[in-house]
């Protein structure tokens, strides 16, 4: 009798586990997560990644008003510079394909953006030919400038590509 009970318990436990497992399965394979591709150029964004994920729209809004109305066209927080770094290698754009940088998250979050009704999704010229300058304001460049250490031309070129 005891043995029968034990077998019964084992069977029940297995069934319960299987049931729990089957319940967990669809959750894990729910909506496909956005593909976040690493920027083609640059090591670090102009702001820390978590701040950028939460607040990029605020930075962009502020910058656009400054640029359009005041004529202050700094590179930091400029949409053009976002595109320069984040344009995908495959499509050369931030919003042409489903996996491109901007579209990937925005379609996942179901937030429609109309930036690209007017703004070009592609960097000016080809990605590889983008000239490296210190004003691109990447952290690595800034730190290098602050530390006053000598960064070789090869290293800087490596950062750019």
């Amino acid at each position: 009798m005891k043995r029968l009970l034990a077998v019964g318990a084992v069977v029940l436990t297995t069934a319960a586990l299987a049931w729990a497992g089957s319940e967990a399965q669809p959750k894990a394979s729910g909506a496909p997560k956005p593909v976040i591709t690493k920027a083609v150029k640059g090591e670090q964004c102009v702001e820390p990644t978590d701040i950028m994920r939460r607040n990029h729209m605020k930075f962009l809004d502020h910058h656009r008003d400054q640029a359009v109305i005041e004529g202050v066209r700094t590179k930091k927080h400029s949409l053009k510079e976002c595109i320069n770094c984040h344009a995908s290698e495959k499509t050369g754009s931030v919003a042409a394909a489903k996996d491109d940088f901007c579209v990937s998250c925005h379609s996942y979050a179901a937030v429609k953006i109309d930036c690209f009704d007017c703004h070009s999704t592609k960097p000016q010229g080809s990605v590889a030919m983008h000239p490296l300058n210190a004003e691109t304001a990447h952290y690595k460049h800034q730190l290098a400038a602050q530390a006053n250490s000598k960064v070789s031309a090869e290293e800087m070129a490596g950062v750019a590509q």
Binding site: I69, G71, R73, D117, C118, K122
Partner: protein
């Protein structure tokens, strides 16, 4: 402008001093490049952090006596620089954008023909700004009249108000054909920006004026009308010029000679 600005922080900015600095810098830099180019560079190169200044007023002098019949170079240069489809290539020519267009005028009595480009006149008192219900149509500190496409609702009131028919509406999606420097799109009004992207970059010239000079006509001259030493101010002092519809008293940024 950056040099002048930084100096004026701790010294009184007298006109004599301004002129002296300008002349000195022009002579120093003039050794390297042509003098005409330098004057513009010295007067208007400003740093990225610095906004447009009301000390500057950008303007253009159109010499209609030099504007060649049949030449369309300014229009082509504008469409190439700013990425708008020329009227001839447009599927809907009546709706096609015209940031700048060539006009051929004939006096009915004397048969005299005049050629001139017509575009946004960058009024000091722009009617398009007066009527805009959202404040999208605005005049920048340096006199350039622009449309803020982030607030434009495409009502086209400004197009009605403009005495020069200088504005147009984008009717169809542009499908990512815009230039990276010149955002423009469906449902927004647009017009000549005096190549604001080039001005802010410090080029000190517009695409149309560059093309006109390259073609050897020299009918277009762009510059700072507030700087008494600029080429455009000197020419405006010498040449008799007119404002189109001067009766409206709008104080135009584009002046015509020979009309």
């Amino acid at each position: 402008m950056s040099e002048l600005k930084s100096m004026s922080d701790n010294t009184p900015n007298s006109p004599e001093r301004r002129r002296f600095i300008g002349a000195a810098a022009a002579t120093a830099a003039g050794l390297a490049i042509a003098p005409g180019v330098i004057l513009v560079e010295v007067a208007h190169g400003r740093s990225e952090e610095q906004g447009a200044s009301s000390a500057v007023r950008w303007g253009m002098l159109v010499d209609a006596t030099k504007c060649a019949t049949g030449c369309n170079d300014c229009v082509t240069a504008c469409s190439t620089e700013n990425g708008w489809t020329p009227v001839a290539e447009s599927a809907h020519p009546k709706q096609a954008p015209q940031w700048i267009r060539k006009l051929e005028l004939q006096d009915p009595l004397t048969q005299m023909e005049t050629n001139l480009p017509m575009m946004c006149q960058h009024c000091a008192e722009p009617p398009c700004v007066d009527v805009c219900p959202t404040g999208a149509s605005f005049k920048r500190a340096d006199g350039i009249v622009l449309v803020n496409r982030h607030t434009c609702i495409g009502c086209r009131y400004c197009m009605m108000a403009c005495p020069y028919k200088a504005r147009s509406l984008v009717h169809e999606p542009l499908n990512d054909t815009q230039k990276a420097d010149v955002p423009r799109g469906i449902g927004c009004v647009e017009s000549c920006t005096l190549c604001v992207q080039k001005v802010d970059r410090g080029d000190g010239n517009t695409a149309c004026a560059e093309a006109c000079t390259a073609a050897g006509h020299n009918a277009l001259l762009f510059g700072d009308m507030n700087d008494p030493e600029s080429e455009i101010s000197k020419r405006l002092r010498e040449l008799p010029t007119k404002q189109v519809r001067a009766d409206l008293n709008l104080n135009l940024g584009v002046r015509y000679h020979g009309i």
